[in-house]
Symmetry: C2
Subunit: 148 residues, 2 copies
């Protein structure tokens, strides 16, 4: 049996977030004692872990809520839960692909800067070169940006 503070410590959430989640109905098993204090048991902690985890993977709160309501409804909702999870997985995959593009893109950008700084392209520290490379910054900024 844990308090808000303990639940927060265990799950790595803030106390604010723990209260927020419980109040939103994302922790079905949470109880209140006679002093109206939230009491978390092992199951509540599991739910919190689960919420955190779906949250981290980018699922919005209201969708998590839907999922949890389906869980509460029982095993008859397994097909719906499967569908929901599949859709979320597809979304996560799309994000992964995007993230790959971004990294590739930034790799290129930093490589360009590095080349400049290592004087493989131009000695930008030499004022004599400054007007030849006057618009370099624009190029560097622009070069990789057409792609995304």
């Amino acid at each position: 049996m844990y308090t808000v503070k303990e639940a927060a410590q265990i799950t790595g959430l803030t106390e604010h977030a723990v209260r927020f989640y419980t109040d939103k109905g994302l922790v079905p098993s949470v109880q209140r004692n006679e002093n109206n204090i939230r009491i978390f048991d092992g199951e509540s902690i599991n739910w919190l872990h689960g919420v955190k985890c779906l949250k981290q993977s980018g699922m919005p709160i209201d969708v998590i809520k839907m999922y949890i309501d389906l869980c509460i409804e029982g095993d008859s909702t397994i097909p719906q839960r499967y569908t929901l999870m599949m859709e979320h997985k597809e979304a996560a995959l799309a994000k992964l692909e995007e993230a790959k593009l971004h990294v590739a893109h930034l790799e290129e950008k930093t490589a360009l800067y590095q080349a400049i700084l290592e004087h493989r392209i131009l000695d930008t520290t030499n004022p004599a070169n400054w007007d030849r490379i006057q618009h370099m910054h624009g190029d560097v900024f622009y070069k990789a940006s057409r792609r995304v």
Copy 2:
């Protein structure tokens, strides 16, 4: 020479966003005509593309602003820009790794559901099985969530 509407069409941004960016100083080359209308030339469009692109890769507006201000300052700021971009790249890499974890995690979750639905684990459609698998939903929810 383009209007807000055209610039929005070309870059795939909304008119709101285009005005927002120009007003924030993220499009240095944008001008106003005698009627106070924003006039975008090719360079402005490039800046807009660049902003969109940094934006998409997760850079906050104020950091983009910093970067652009450095660009405007000229080539003497190339080292700072490099540092900034490297940091952003590291952040993007971290996000990529996270995204991989999330996908792996969701793969597992959906696989579990699939196994259930294909009756490889239990026939959940048969009411006779319902109390044996009463807490399955909790398990499914929880199983992969300890990890993240």
